[in-house]
Symmetry: C2
Subunit: 109 residues, 2 copies
Amino acid sequence: MMKIDGNCDSGCPVAAAATVFDGKWTSLILRDLMSGTKRYSELQRSLTGISPRMLAARLTMLEEKGLISKTIYPTVPPKTEYTLTESGQRAEAVIMALAAFGATLARPG
Amino acid sequence: MMKIDGNCDSGCPVAAAATVFDGKWTSLILRDLMSGTKRYSELQRSLTGISPRMLAARLTMLEEKGLISKTIYPTVPPKTEYTLTESGQRAEAVIMALAAFGATLARPG
DNA sequence: CGGAATCCATAGGGATACTG
DNA sequence: CAGTATCCCTATGGATTCCG
């Protein structure tokens, strides 16, 4: 069991992870990629209501943070695939924890 | 906040949990409370840079979502304590997962 | 198909000052 | 001490359009 400090301002792993999972779409994108490689349009269809701009921004961020990798097939029409890296697969544990916790919450509405 | 709706219809537990952990401070507050009951001023000192407004807003949200409870001692000077509820203690698993994952990330700076 | 560019409204959130 | 109230700004992010 990992020790967590009550006060680890700089370099706190919780804070570091929180920046990655920031925003309302990130965890949903990772959740979707947990079931395997997906195309841009597949993600867009799955993430109801997300704008192309948002999806592209989150995918870029996740790629920069090293959680996903991008493969471009120079075909016509073009095709791009997104896959979890090893780091992204490690992030699955967070998604699972989120899912388990979320399942215990009372549903609003 | 807007409704989140991904590919597991309108009750996705990941989305539900994501709304609770929204924002940069929430997980840090929960992290702090994991080590025990804390006062408002203790949290403010621990969460370097947070504004009173922000701290109050997040604490109110967490209380409304049922993750923390608030005890007011009508003393002079006044004293308020925040404690994790059972739901909040269930959220510890998410914080632990975040910490474990965050520890594997490359440190910026 | 997979984005990038542009425009624009909203609210998230910081700084400061004040109060019970 | 434990917050509120107020001001104000910027970054977030939606809608739309266009391009390789």
